[in-house]
């Protein structure tokens, strides 16, 4: 079995909000466990407000988690001393959604790529130049792009620079936060292509944060579905897409339009919108919106229960009724034998 390069257990992030004497708690991330192996792509999906970006930021202490442990290549991540965290950033790098705002507009591509080499690897100028050329080639840019500024590049080229910068220090794992959502579809394919090639060559682990289900299906080996700060379903991508178990996953997958003529999807509807994550009671997060909810759903927060090999869902209704009747396409019989 391949080595786990990034893992988190019991990850939580709470924010105290409200005026003095009227403190309330906003739960952005609630008890998240995850692992990413070398050469594996794990997708973290969810809608806005689900906490997926906060998870990414907690993993690298861009946001200080309230509780939980993060390990990189088996070593616990500590925020202090700063040097320890700097060491972590050699192994874990991030690629952000908007390359317009994540690249310094006053630095040339050369300077942007040389900076991490200088800071993390302390390479000399000559070595830096060689590595910068190597990186530019790896991400499909030309050496004459080196003296350009970000505004002189297209969106796709800028994202290539963002990826090259992340790869510069030879990380074990890269966290990609919506890396293609600001790009045109034709460029999206090229960037995913690039990421797949780099992963094969370097055996990097990817944690891929996205709301684009077409992308998840195409690139992820495993998928984690987040709703209101918690993971409600996880499993191999094929299994989750073929047999989504949790009502939220079913609603999410059935809402995504597919670019094919004559495909009639059977929608699984939830009512209302994602509620406020402030002062949530200890119950299933979906309780007010779910058509399958039973009284038990309001009693305690359901844990993730295995429903297939590596596949688990946090829904007491869907995971405890072995004789439940089929519910149309996308429905799954709990505990059903895997293919």
């Amino acid at each position: 079995m391949t080595a786990i390069v990034l893992s988190a257990s019991g990850l939580r992030k709470h924010y105290r909000i409200g005026a003095l004497g009227d403190h309330r708690t906003l739960v952005a991330v609630d008890d998240v466990d995850l692992e990413v192996r070398a050469g594996e792509t794990v997708a973290l999906v969810g809608e806005s407000g689900s906490g997926k970006s906060t998870v990414a930021r907690c993993l690298v202490h861009l946001v200080e988690p309230t509780a939980g442990e993060v390990r990189v290549a088996g070593e616990p991540v500590r925020a202090r001393p700063v040097a320890a965290l700097t060491r972590v950033y050699r192994d874990v790098q991030m690629v952000f959604q908007d390359p317009n705002s994540s690249l310094d507009p006053r630095m040339t591509v050369r300077a942007l790529l040389a900076e991490p080499l200088r800071l993390h690897l302390r390479l000399r100028r000559r070595e830096r130049d060689d590595r910068v050329r190597e990186l530019v080639e790896m991400v499909g840019l030309r050496t004459d792009h080196l003296d350009r500024y970000p505004h002189q590049l297209s969106g796709g080229q800028r994202q290539r620079v963002g990826i090259a910068r992340a790869l510069a220090v030879r990380p074990r794992v890269v966290i990609l936060d919506e890396p293609t959502s600001s790009l045109d579809v034709s460029v999206r394919g090229q960037i995913l292509d690039l990421l797949a090639r780099v992963q094969r060559e370097l055996r990097i682990g990817y944690l891929f944060i996205t709301h684009d289900l077409a992308v998840v299906r195409r690139v992820a080996h495993r998928v984690l579905v987040m709703y209101l700060g918690g993971i409600v379903e996880q499993g191999p991508t094929g299994a989750v897409f073929a047999r989504p178990v949790h009502p939220y996953t079913r609603a999410l997958l059935s809402a995504a339009p597919v670019p094919e003529w004559g495909v009639r999807r059977e929608r699984f509807h939830l009512t209302g919108e994602i509620p406020s994550p402030v002062d949530l009671p200890d119950q299933c997060r979906l309780v007010g919106r779910c058509p399958l909810a039973v009284p038990a759903c309001a009693h305690a927060r359901p844990p993730l229960v295995p429903v297939g090999p590596g596949h688990a869902a946090a829904c007491p209704v869907e995971t405890s009724e072995p004789t439940a009747p089929p519910r149309g396409p996308g429905a799954v019989r709990a505990g059903a034998a895997p293919d």
Binding site: S186, R188, L252, P259, E260, W261, G262, R267
Partner: protein
């Protein structure tokens, strides 16, 4: 709501810049039929949004139309005097913009903003206009519309704000509504609801023009598709034809990219 078809003919124009004219639209022609959603698809810089803005004559001032016509009931909107165009805009042809919360005025209650549009075009008093605003909000399935009308845009979620903007576009019962990326930035579950709403409106006779880059949305809700690239229309066909028998290689490329076809990734 009775629709009228909208026909764009030979629309050609350029941007005036310090370095001279930059051509951006080249002989753009298509028809949006009543009671249907017609999609204009294309990538960044294809000219799809500029085409939409030109229909309402609200393109940036640097954009110069060289020739072409925008026909609504045989009347060329491009030749109307501005005063008469103002009577068309919002009343007969209206527009829904991409970022709903940015399109709404943050310092006025949402209902008031809808009522203002109503009063601009109709001889109604404030109270009747506010009543019409509440009805318009209810018509786009905003729950508790009377209370919502008194709220400010920041109290609306993205999906609710988009519904309110659609209500604003519909309050004067226009024949044509141009939707410019109405679901970009919204979650898929909310997107599905907004598209279902647009489908219901066209079933009632409305002519809808949907500017989008999302071919999934097109496949599900549109009857016809106009594919644009570099300021030109490369293909205009029924949705079925575009998805099953694309004639232009660019259309086929765009489809392959949207589907993330096996093999397109090494």
């Amino acid at each position: 709501m009775s629709g009228a078809s909208l026909r764009v003919e030979g629309l050609t124009g350029h941007f005036r810049t310090r370095r001279g004219a930059v051509p951006v639209l080249d002989d753009v022609s298509f028809t949006a039929r009543a009671g249907q959603v017609t999609a204009i698809v294309g990538e960044t810089g294809s000219g799809k949004s500029l085409t939409a803005l030109s229909i309402l004559r609200i393109a940036p001032p640097e954009f110069v139309v060289e020739r072409g016509r925008v026909l609504l009931d045989e009347v060329d909107l491009l030749t109307l005097p501005e005063r008469r165009m103002r009577a068309v805009r919002g009343a007969r042809v209206s527009m829904v913009f991409q970022d709903a919360r940015a399109a709404l005025n943050p310092v006025l209650p949402v209902g008031r903003q809808l009522a203002d549009v109503c009063r601009l075009h109709r001889p109604v008093n404030r109270r009747d206009a506010e009543k019409a605003a509440v009805e318009a909000l209810a018509a786009v399935q905003i729950p508790d519309a009377a209370r919502r009308a008194r709220q400010y845009p920041h109290e609306f979620s993205g999906g609710m704000a988009q519904r309110a903007l659609i209500a604003m576009a519909l309050i004067c019962e226009p024949e044509v509504v141009v939707f410019d990326e109405p679901t970009t930035g919204l979650d898929v579950t909310i997107q599905a609801e907004i598209m279902a709403l647009i489908g219901t409106l066209t079933a009632g006779g409305l002519t809808a023009l949907l500017i989008t880059h999302d071919l999934g949305v097109v496949a599900e809700t549109c009857a016809a598709v106009v594919v644009m690239r570099d300021g030109r229309v490369v293909e205009e066909a029924s949705t079925e034809d575009v998805f099953t028998r694309p004639r232009h290689p660019y259309t086929a490329e765009l489809l392959a990219a949207s589907r993330l076809v096996e093999g397109s990734l090494a």
